[in-house]
């Protein structure tokens, strides 16, 4: 049995794990659930030798062990499939599976037995991938299988799967769950981390719920219903999270997109009215972010985007000037300049108003301060770099940056990713207020509850196409998933 005993892990002032005890038995699937930032990833990284606990210990079969490196974790039989897949794109499948444990003959890698080993491991996960194929040619689902095969080829006794189905389609999920069940039958202990509570309910013998770095609940098979888990994750009734939706506005749309065709993207008709919140649902990779980027003019596409009564060409500066603002999902990569002060970030999309041509520092600071008031951004001073803020406050800076452009249509891509529960509620309230003030909002989210709580209408995408629209009465998790996965309605 693998045990984590009263583990605490801090990062500077932040406590990511607070006195958490957890265990994994052989022949068991142990579900691990929690909101973003609840501490799941930190726990996994401690179990895989990437992070060290600040206090507390690990034990294997009752004996205390320490895992100072990933190698030491592997040596005691722990294998991890990380959420962000960690294959080497420039190596082929068999090289990846053997990575770090290559069979050799003299100084050379023994390619024959390397390939045979890969073939064996792939067979155990029921995959027919060619071991000689370059990893860069594989689909995400295939890469996932290769990762699991790699773990098995290392004779892992304990397998940790971090969000294994985040990128998979419905049939691929089925296949993965079958693989997990086989592994359990073979005596492997599987830690299964997932946002998809139905999968956890179906697979897990036990479920641990983490919230804000603490162990808040443990369920046995049978009692682990999705709603019980969800309530434990959030710590209150879900319905309280979301402010009351104003009545759906009627009247003319402020944004209308017709016959949008881009690379792998098709959107016959999408419109949004002032004061309306429209959700976009779909699996990862279904083209949701691409659709938003197309609307904001960052991707080439044919078709027509009309703001008010003008057709606006697909150029970012034109779209921004016409009142379209896109708040990116990836604050690090595309959203913010993390090393730069909060004040600069707040005016980053509208420098022209603050420089003529010399930058008017006071006005920039003034602007940032007014957004701090308006959005309730918790910060030291507006001249601190953005990376000193928590995820939720960074997201608010992101919002400020785009609200500063005085948009008519706000496009939000995963607005609560990496944002803690408290700040989430604030962001929901803010979206609600903005809509009440007449802003049109289009929001992409992977969290169905969020869409159900926030939106007047939801469009569902599959493989780059909008495949359905659900209004307030029609929308439910099941309805969305049916459309998103392409399962025929029975």
């Amino acid at each position: 049995m693998l045990e984590a005993r009263t583990i605490t892990r801090t990062f500077g002032p932040v406590t990511a794990l607070d006195n958490v005890s957890w265990s994994l038995r052989p022949s068991e699937v142990h579900g691990l659930v929690g909101e973003n930032g609840a501490g799941k990833s930190t726990l996994l990284k401690i179990l895989s030798g990437i992070y060290q606990p600040s206090s507390g210990s690990l034990a294997l079969d009752g004996k205390e062990i320490s895992l100072p490196t990933p190698e030491s974790a592997r040596n005691v039989g722990i294998a991890v499939v990380h959420q962000e897949l960690n294959l080497i794109r420039d190596l082929n499948v068999s090289e990846n599976i053997a990575l770090g444990m290559e069979p050799t003959r003299g100084p050379m890698i023994d390619r024959g037995s390397q390939e045979a080993r890969a073939r064996d491991a792939l067979k155990r996960v029921g995959s027919s991938i060619d071991p000689n194929q370059p990893v860069s040619e594989l689909s995400l689902a295939q890469q996932q299988m290769v990762e699991i095969a790699r773990a098995l080829s290392q004779n892992a006794q304990f397998l940790i799967l971090d969000e294994p189905t985040a990128v998979l389609s419905a049939p691929e999920v089925e296949q993965l769950m079958a693989v997990v069940e086989n592994l359990r039958a073979d005596g492997v202990g599987v830690a299964y981390v997932s946002h998809h509570l139905h999968e956890v309910e179906h697979l897990a013998d036990r479920v641990t719920v983490l919230r804000d770095g603490r162990h808040v609940a443990e369920f046995e098979r049978g009692t682990a219903t999705p709603s019980a888990m969800a309530n434990a994750m959030v710590g209150r009734e879900l319905s309280e999270m979301y402010p009351t939706l104003p009545p759906a506005p009627t009247g003319d749309a402020v944004l209308t997109a017709r016959e949008i065709r881009g690379r792998g993207l098709f959107c016959p008709l999408l419109h949004v009215r002032p004061g309306e919140v429209v959700g976009i649902a779909g699996l990862v990779g279904s083209g949701r972010s691409e659709l938003l980027e197309t609307l904001a003019g960052f991707r080439a596409a044919s078709g027509q985007v009309r703001i008010g009564d003008r057709i606006i060409p697909g150029i970012p500066s034109e779209r921004i000037a016409a009142g379209v603002a896109l708040v990116h999902e990836d604050r690090k990569g595309t959203g913010l300049h993390l090393e730069r002060p909060i004040s600069e970030n707040a005016v980053m999309a509208r420098w022209s108003a603050y420089a003529n041509p010399v930058i008017q520092k006071d006005k920039v600071v003034e602007c940032a301060k007014s957004w701090r008031e308006r959005l309730g951004i918790r910060l030291g001073t507006v001249n601190d770099p953005v990376n000193t803020l928590s995820g939720g406050n960074q997201q608010k800076v992101s919002l400020a940056k785009w609200l500063e452009t005085k948009p008519k249509v706000l496009l939000l891509d995963e607005p609560t990713r990496g944002v803690d529960i408290g700040a989430r509620g604030e962001i929901y309230r803010l979206m609600n207020e903005l809509a009440r003030e007449g802003l049109a909002v289009i929001v992409v989210s992977s969290e169905l509850q969020e869409l159900l709580g926030l939106c007047h209408r939801i469009h569902v995408m599959r493989k780059g196409e909008i495949v359905g629209e659900l209004n307030r009465e029609e929308m439910s998790e099941e309805a969305i998933m049916r459309l998103a996965a392409g399962v025929e309605v029975a």
Binding site: N86, L87, I88, L91, L99, T104, M108, I109, R111
Partner: protein, 331 residues
């Protein structure tokens, strides 16, 4: 299955080399195709070839080494000083010892670079930029800011110049063609390193680290050690290159020897398809890159193009090579 892009990446450099060769043969049939001209293409580029092979390893790890020209000159200077100090006691033994010292000097400097990059977590560009200026300066100190003349004139030049006479190839004057040992040295090194990169764990780890360092770390690979080793091999090869270059001239001019050679080495690797963001690069492709650069130089000289123009032409050719091999962006 095999797309045009893949074909270009696999065989593009080779096709370019063949085309250039044909162009050369058509433009200057009587000079370009002479056996001694072909021989010189190799013999005069042994040092760049060695540097480019090492550079490919470093680039595969997503690194860069700007200091190789300076390592070259410092290794050669130190080696030659040792030879001169011992020459009175017998040239042959002095040359053996001095050669060993030169290569060890290269290894030590490469080790220093590698440690700073891998364990000191400094950017390779910055570390080796410092090396570029510092090692050159050290060479000037060793050579008292001038030329070091070899005092082993009987033996030392043999390293680069003596070779095997191939009876079946004749020079224009009817003599048997002499292929210097240095050319064989280059080919042996190329073969060995190619083999190591493609077929050994060490080589695959270089690729894995350059392709995705975090994943390599998670896979429990000895990232820092392997990275350091790439710079050490680079240093050894730079030391060898220094030895050959010094032997060819039987002297080391500490101010100029090896100057800007790092750029030729990087250019050859890039023409051969190595990606500066790591994970991609093959030795035989890099050697083709070296030959492409060599033939361009050769043709420009044969055509009496002024040296002023040569850099311009090279710059354009390298840009073209990179453009053609640019990976289509994956959406």
């Amino acid at each position: 299955m095999k797309s045009v892009g893949q074909f270009v990446r696999n065989y593009g450099p080779l096709v370019a080399l063949v085309l250039l060769f044909i162009v050369g043969a058509a433009m200057q049939p009587e000079y370009f195709l002479k056996p001694e001209n072909i021989r010189n293409l190799f013999a005069q580029n042994v040092d760049i070839g060695l540097l480019a092979i090492g550079m490919t390893l470093v680039i595969v790890t997503a690194g860069i080494d700007l200091s190789v020209g300076s390592i070259l000159v410092l290794s050669a200077a130190v080696g030659l000083e040792v030879i001169n100090g011992r020459a009175s006691g017998g040239e042959t033994s002095a040359v053996w010892v001095g050669s060993g010292v030169a290569i060890l000097t290269g290894a030590a400097l490469g080790f220093l670079n590698g440690m700073l990059v891998a364990y000191g977590r400094l950017a390779p560009f910055v570390v080796t930029l410092c090396g570029l200026v510092a090692y050159r300066s050290a060479a000037l100190v060793v050579g008292k800011s001038g030329e070091i003349r070899s005092q082993a004139g009987e033996v030392f030049p043999n390293i680069a110049n003596s070779g095997i006479e191939l009876g079946f190839l004749r020079t224009a004057t009817g003599n048997a063609l002499n292929i210097p040992f240095s050319v064989f040295g280059l080919l042996i090194v190329a073969f060995a390193v190619h083999f190591a990169l493609e077929r050994t764990r060490w080589g695959r780890y270089l690729v894995a680290i350059g392709s995705n360092e975090r994943a390599a770390h998670y896979a429990a690979l000895p990232v820092a050690r392997v990275k350091t080793s790439a710079y050490v091999v680079m240093g050894v090869l730079a030391g060898m290159a220094g030895l050959f270059a010094a032997s060819r001239l039987n002297s080391v001019s500490t101010g100029s020897l090896g100057g800007l050679k790092e750029l030729d080495a990087i250019a050859a690797a890039v023409i051969g398809g190595a990606s500066l963001s790591g994970g991609k690069g093959r030795i035989w492709h890099t050697l083709i890159g070296v030959l492409i650069l060599a033939i361009i130089n050769n043709l420009l000289v044969l055509q009496n193009v002024s040296a002023d123009w040569q850099g311009l032409v090279k710059g354009v050719i390298i840009l073209l090579a990179v453009l053609v091999q640019r990976e289509r962006r994956v959406e």
